[in-house]
């Protein structure tokens, strides 16, 4: 086997050195009746070329060569080959968590830079080294708010990503948290009057996402004000980081849960991505996850090490701020390299292109008889359109033209059955948008009956 660096005679030599007859002797501590009597029934072994062939065949069974208008928490943005070249350096790819600071300065300094970038993007004072993803980062942000306030009532906008809310519900169930969902207005923004009625002295946090799941920017300043008036915390989730190139950062929020997938990570059928929690400096000791800090050695040379570890499970065990251990370090590195390449101007330009393309797509779709914009609030690169018939029926026709259409919203919001979520980014060309709009027009021109056949 090509991964195993021993010859049969070396194995023999080693067994002799240990003083055992054969390899089975080294497994004698496993009771006989618990040992496997026959080989596992597994496919393989495959050589390198066979492996590549296997995965190429799987790739061909997916959606290669389709135009896609899906976003909804996972965004397709330009990714430089430079980012991947850095990621594939074995010194980053194959290194462990940087507990041994002297031989992990590369990873540690990169984390320190990631933390800085996350602060700059979100307008917060401190950020951690990463969480699993946006959904678990938001959930951990809520648990953090519960620890900070000692309260257990959490108001969550219904416009937050349905899967993020589902993860929060899973964790909250056994911790005695009361989750109250707050609806959205015709704008698509959280219903502010309803929020004002629901917030009270038991409220630990108000949670919104911006841009929200429906693509609409939330009025974070007003939400934070409502939270702070009740001495509660404002938790803001951000699933589309590129929006921060043109959208005001949630500086008034107390905790921000950012999904960094948009910065250099491919869609990957759902992961791996990188969540990050950013917050105010005064809350850092209740923060989950690893942190890198700057310090120096005995000669006064600048260096970095993991710090404030007494919050973490390997020191504090059942009293830790979180059970997280392995995080998404390499994905955070991707975000770091990607953001350094983009820089201040590149991020702004990317974000502006997203806005312009979304506005163009919206205007093209609105020209089609029967198609309307679904919500009135301000958007970044995603918006809701209302069709004269079920989105699924239209999408089934679009697939025949190698287009993956809008995300049908009825599965998450029963009141939005004829609504779909359209996403366009800087990677979507004008020609693709026009082809999509004309396909929708043609499909809607035909009677439903014809579309069913």
């Amino acid at each position: 086997m090509r991964y195993l660096p021993k010859s049969p005679s070396e194995r023999r030599e080693m067994l002799d050195a240990i003083g055992v007859r054969d390899i089975d002797d080294l497994f004698s501590s496993i009771p006989e009746d618990l040992r496997l009597q026959s080989p596992l029934r597994l496919p393989g072994p495959l050589s390198e070329s066979e492996l590549i062939q296997f995965f190429r065949e799987r790739a061909a069974e997916n959606a290669q060569g389709y135009s896609s208008f899906l976003g909804a928490g996972v965004y397709n943005h330009l990714r430089s080959v430079v980012t991947d070249a850095i990621l594939q350096r074995g010194e980053f790819l194959t290194s462990y968590t940087p507990y041994q600071a002297e031989i992990s300065q590369g990873t540690l300094q990169a984390i320190f830079e990631f933390q800085t970038l996350a602060c700059e993007l979100t307008g917060q004072e401190v950020a951690n080294a990463s969480m699993y993803d946006g959904s678990t980062a938001m959930t951990e942000a809520v648990l953090m708010a519960e620890r900070l306030t000692g309260r257990r009532r959490v108001l969550v906008a219904r416009s937050v990503h349905p899967e993020y809310r589902a993860v929060l519900a899973t964790y909250a169930r056994n911790l005695g948290l009361e989750i109250v969902e707050i609806g959205y207005a015709a704008s698509g923004q959280v219903d502010i009057p309803a929020l004002a009625l629901a917030v009270n002295a038991e409220t630990a946090a108000i949670v919104v996402q911006t841009p929200n799941f429906l693509g609409v920017l939330e009025p974070v300043t007003r939400v934070a004000q409502l939270a702070h008036d009740a001495a509660a915390l404002a938790v803001v989730a951000i699933a589309e980081g590129v929006s921060l190139g043109v959208v005001r950062p949630p500086a008034e929020a107390d905790i921000v849960a950012l999904e960094a997938q948009s910065f250099g990570m491919a869609p990957n059928y759902g992961g791996p991505y990188a969540g990050v929690i950013a917050t105010r400096e005064k809350y850092v000791r209740q923060m989950p996850g690893r942190l890198a800090g700057q310090t120096s050695d005995a000669q006064g040379r600048r260096g970095f090490c993991l710090t404030l570890a007494t919050r973490e499970q390997h020191i504090r065990r059942e009293r830790a701020t979180s059970n997280i251990c392995t995080n998404q370090a390499l994905c955070a590195l991707a975000a770091t390299v990607h953001l350094c390449l983009l820089g201040k101007e590149g991020l702004r330009e990317t974000a502006e292109q997203n806005v312009a393309k979304a506005q163009f797509a919206l205007s093209e779709l609105e020209k089609i008889p029967g198609v309307r914009r679904g919500l009135t609030g301000p958007v970044f690169n995603e918006f809701v359109i209302r069709l004269p018939r079920a989105v699924r029926l239209v999408n089934a026709q679009l697939v025949r033209e190698r287009i993956i259409g809008p995300l049908p919203l009825g599965q998450f919001y029963p009141e939005l059955t004829k609504c779909g979520l359209v996403c366009v980014t800087e990677t979507t060309s004008r020609a693709e948008i026009e082809r999509f709009a004309s396909a929708v027009r043609r499909i809607l021109d035909r009677p439903i009956r014809e579309n069913l056949t």
């Binding site: 597994l42 290194s95 041994q100 320190f112 830079e113 800090g293 995080n327």
Partner: protein, 501 residues
Amino acid sequence: MTDRIKKARQHTSQNEGLIFEKSAPGKRGTDLPPLDVPAVDTRELLGAEYARETIEGLPEVSEIEVIRHFTRLSTWNYAIDLGMYPLGSCTMKYNPRVNEFVARLDGIATEHPYQPPELAQGCLKILATLQQCLLEITGMDAATLQPAAGAQGEITGLLLIRACLGSRGNPRKKVLIPDSAHGTNPASAVIAGYEVENIRSDARGQLDVESLKELVSEDVAALMVTNPSTLGTFEPRIAEVAELLHSRGALLYMDGANMNALAGVARPGDFGVDVMHLNLHKTFSTPHGGGGPGAGPVLVKKHLEPFLPVPVLVEKDGRLALNANRPQAVGRVRAFAGNFGVLVRALAYTLAYGPGIRQATEDAVLNANYIRKALEDVYELPYASASMHEVVFSDARQKRFGVSTMDIAKRLIDYGFHPYTTAFPLIVPGALMIEPTESESKEECDLFVAAMRTIAEEAATEPEAVKTAPHSTRVGRLDEVAAARKPILRWKPKPSSEAAD
């Protein structure tokens, strides 16, 4: 001194500041294609409440500066690609390069989790095949691939236990955890809403079955056990423990962190485990990447299947799909279908070996025992029980000269190795926890043994050299106390008056 050090010699390493310190207005590392639709004034469109003026702190640097910056940083890291990484319980094995290649293929990396299942059959088949392989390797009945890491696997498994016992009428209150366990075990139990009762290991460092008989009351939901334990020894009475728990209505959770000692040799499903997780970034070779990403699939016996988190893979008429409509499910533990890219790599690893995965396990156990034999006359072996894939020594003999496990670990760096795991498990004072994995050749093991023996000598003859190690790195031991007392967690621009410094 240098002739003692066989594996390494010093070389020049480049200095490099923070990327922010290289920034100058107007530089950039990316050019975008020109906008092909009408431009929009975003400030006007979004309005003052939503528009952002500037992003001050993003660096402005060119492509070559980005490449050099991160390449220089990378040279300050140790890595498996450079040599042995004997971290106990971390299973730092070779990360096959072909796995990186296939995970990046067009049609694999590019797929969106919400594309319709008929256009994602390839992704779903990858998940289904991996799931089947993991069930065969562990002897369990059903699985979820969703958890993002081992710790998330633990919380998922405990939620399953809570749901299962709840459905029988009482979720119970406590989870028993041996004192040798990893810190995530108790931390996860608390998030699942359980109290933790830490239980003492017996004189051999193993589960104390007699005292367990006293401890497993009506309040106990489960025992969380790592097998082989963090001492690297198999729990010989595991089946009896499972029976005891079951007879009292409790369940057995197995932390699969040490599955690299068992794959192809024995299956947790055969010794009574009800629920377990695997760490694909350990046993299944997906790269650690400086701390993640990982994946922590959870495998269960039939009676826990109805409670698995959504979505679960289903097959109908030869087509695969994800089903989220399961009334008894514990919910969702992460958005989307899990760390798919990690799962792709784990499948590539498994298919590369096939049934031959047993050979990897045998070599891992062979290496650990070879190192044990070669060092047991110079380092204290606190527990004599048989080692599997890792061996735990203590610093008891070196302590006499004031040299601790941390000092020995730091000195190992000068010899060209990453340190072993220090001061864990907690039941061994001054532990040296060594896991070589199957990826090390006899030559690399011999170099490691030589380094460890030389350090043992140095501890007696020139302890200062060990206590002040490492001597060969670009920074010495860092002031961690100062770092925690007054945390500096981000770069800040110097005030303009100091900018000339």
